[in-house]
């Protein structure tokens, strides 16, 4: 054979060999088991160890689950039932039944309103679907997504439907004003710009003026007892003088800037719309929604933030903070990419600071410090302060994710946008962000999962999320004193279900992105 080949090189196969089935040792369950479980002494030992481990766990847990009691009023009654049934161990799942509402909604949310967060949750699934599965669901559904916050707010916190509706209307009107100003011809816009510019300039000057006064006041109150206080007091004094010197020029300059931009129109439109929405929210919201409500009352029982609790609280915190932190994260990421040292510096310091401290300390800030930084008469409730701090926390992490997305964009995209004459805002909004965000979605989802898990930390500042609920009212109650396995496993389970699904989604998405990018 070998000889023939070497000499007569020419070889032509005339017939097609039919594919044959693989040899028996190559297929079937036996092969699988041999290859995957017992392919060597080490492997065999590992398999046996693993099987033993599984067996132990199973034998430990199964009777406990199987003998679980679902119907009892207290832990003693429950234990009695277990012993009565002759079992050695048995879980007291009755606590879940007994305290189900508390675990889910906290112990103060009105029971006849439980359907509201539920509906809000279900609608959320629908509202978020077009964002998560952009290919499957029509883009039109994004409208629902945009409306969702208003609906959810109303459902969960209750009160008059007219409040969120009026806010929504204000936003829509603002959008219309925006469009209107944009569509003005240059002449009209110049006039408007002059007016708005003057107004904004004056307003700014006033703000700065009060700021300067405030700084002076701070400087005065620090005192100069030690070298440190002397320095800081002087510093504040200097800042105050600086601001006194600046408030008129700044006002004029910003006014002029708005006027100067009339031709392009970007600033005029933005400032006008901002002013409009401020006026509407600050002065019209209350009266308008009040009047509307008195004409056609559509009201749900109002529930104060304090009364939110249980798993619902984790959900609220998670969803609200993540959604709020995305825009903030975008701004921070863009700021960190900026080539202006001051802006970049501020963003870097903020991000690194937040990432350097544990969430708990930020919650302490929300709990004990934030109130000192707010105007004396303002009354932020704890949940709002916590939302502020958690949002700051997650926005720093999201900013880092988005920065990765921005960095992953080829420089050519920026250059192409530049060479087409798009300005910074346009390029960012139309070219850069859509792509960067798309790349960042898996990362954002991961941050979201982490954050959602971290919402349990609010129990440390004695809020009654699901963990707080367990550690507080449930384990402390006479009925369920020192029950732990059942409730903690339940809490673990509800988190696992959500977090696992989200992380599976993010992995799916990553695969999608990998394949769809060419």
């Amino acid at each position: 054979m070998s000889d023939t080949h070497a000499q007569t090189v020419a070889f032509v196969r005339e017939t097609e060999i039919p594919p044959a089935p693989p040899p028996a040792s190559q297929a079937g369950a036996v092969k699988w088991v041999r290859e995957n479980l017992f392919s060597g002494p080490f492997n065999t030992i590992m398999t046996l160890l693993a099987l033993y481990f599984i067996y132990k766990i199973f034998m430990g847990a199964f009777p406990w689950f199987a003998n679980g009691v679902w119907d009892a009023g207290s832990i003693r009654e429950c234990r009695d039932k277990v012993t009565a049934s002759g079992a050695e161990t048995g879980a007291c799942f009755a606590v879940l039944v007994d305290r189900w509402d508390h675990l889910m909604f906290g112990f103060k949310y009105p029971a006849d309103a439980y359907w509201r967060p539920l509906v809000a949750f279900l609608v959320m699934l629908v509202a978020i679907a077009p964002v998560l599965f952009s290919k499957v669901f029509p883009r039109k559904m994004l409208i629902l997504t945009a409306l969702y916050p208003f609906l959810a707010f109303w459902l969960i916190w209750g009160g008059s439907l007219w409040v969120p509706l009026t806010i929504l209307a204000a936003i829509i009107v603002t959008g219309m004003i925006f469009k209107f100003v944009e569509s003005l011809d240059v002449g009209a816009r110049t006039i408007l710009a002059a007016v708005v510019g003057a107004g904004a300039g004056a307003g700014l000057a006033y703000l700065l003026f009060t700021g300067a006064q405030e700084l002076w006041f701070i400087a005065g109150s620090i005192g100069n007892a030690t070298i440190l206080t002397l320095i800081s007091s002087t510093l504040f004094m200097a800042l105050s003088v600086f601001t006194y010197a600046m408030f008129i020029p700044m006002g004029i300059f910003v006014g002029y800037a708005i006027y100067n931009d009339a031709e392009d129109g970007g600033l005029v439109t933005i400032v006008t719309s901002l002013a409009a929405i401020y006026v509407m929210l600050a002065y019209l919201l209350g009266p308008v929604s009040g009047t509307l409500n008195s004409i056609i009352p559509i009201e749900l029982q109002a529930v104060p933030s304090r009364d939110m609790g249980g798993y619902m609280l984790c959900m609220i915190l998670g969803v609200v903070c993540v959604s709020l932190s995305i825009p903030l994260g975008i701004i921070l990421a863009l700021g960190r990419q900026s080539n202006m040292p001051l802006i970049k510096g501020v963003c870097v310091v903020f991000i690194e600071f937040i990432r350097g401290v544990p969430l708990i300390t930020l919650l302490f800030v929300a709990n004990v410090m934030l109130a000192y930084f707010m105007p004396p008469e303002s009354n932020f409730d704890l949940i709002l302060r916590v939302i502020i701090m958690i949002t700051m926390f997650s926005s720093a992490y999201i900013a880092e994710v988005i920065r990765g997305g921005l960095a992953a964009l080829p420089k050519g995209q920026y250059e192409a946008a530049d060479s087409l004459g798009l300005n910074y805002t346009q390029a960012t909004r139309l070219i850069i962000l859509p792509q960067a965000l798309k790349i960042s979605i898996p990362g954002i989802v991961n941050v979201a999962v982490g954050l959602f898990k971290d919402t349990t930390l609010v129990s440390v500042i004695s809020m009654f999320d699901i963990v707080g609920m367990i550690r507080g009212p449930i384990q402390q109650s006479t009925d369920w004193i020192s029950i732990y396995w059942e409730v903690y496993l339940f809490a673990a389970l509800v988190f696992f279900v959500v977090c696992y699904s989200i992380s599976q989604y993010s992995q799916w998405l990553e695969r999608q992105l990998n394949t769809s990018h060419r």
Binding site: G412, Q413, E415, A416, L420, L422
Partner: protein, 255 residues
Amino acid sequence: MNQQAQMTVSDEVAIEITNMNKWYGTFHVLRDIDLTVQRGERIVICGPSGSGKSTLIRCINALEEHQAGKIVVDGTVLSSDLKNIDKIRSEVGMCFQHFNLFPHLTILENCTLAPIWVRKTPKKEAEEVAMHFLAKVKIPEQADKYPGQLSGGQQQRVAIARSLCMKPRIMLFDEPTSALDPEMIKEVLDTMIELAEEGMTMLCVTHEMGFARQVANRVIFMDAGQIVEQNEPEEFFNNPKSDRTKLFLSQILGH
């Protein structure tokens, strides 16, 4: 070569570069560049890698800043004033080696984006214009696809159409064919030749000597940041004056 005569070169000046210098840090990339381009001229720039060709044309639409000298494009002095930069960019189209299409937008959206947002053209009108130019580069049927679904040659043609939609008076090309497979190069060159025939002012960095011979009014040879030689294509290829050019041509034509 015969076509060349038919193409018109007016004596209006489209681009005037005087005594332009540019540094990257301490590295002197462009040295004393003087170049005047008449309206309708078609200029091919060639030269070894790193000689500053890309940098030169990127300076013309202010993607890079220059540190000394003057660049006047279509009567507008390129200064650090944003308004001027905007004005120049809307008159100068640019076509990159790697196309740089926007992958998240369809072909049509790629083409209408700038007209709508920069020129404030109504969408409908912008789309008509875009379809016209897409037809011109012979891919109107791809309008609703995404860039990722097109071949390299098609993508480059879309990139050209995208620039054209802004109705630029000058087109800059930076090695538009070097990222392409041989078959696709032809598609793109054909499109460029067509453009040239319509009298578009063009500056094109390329090593496609066939293209240079066929359409260029002038070939510029750069080395080490300087314009070493410039001449009509025929002369340039057959009678290079400088030794550097000779060496370069021997390499480039040899392989």
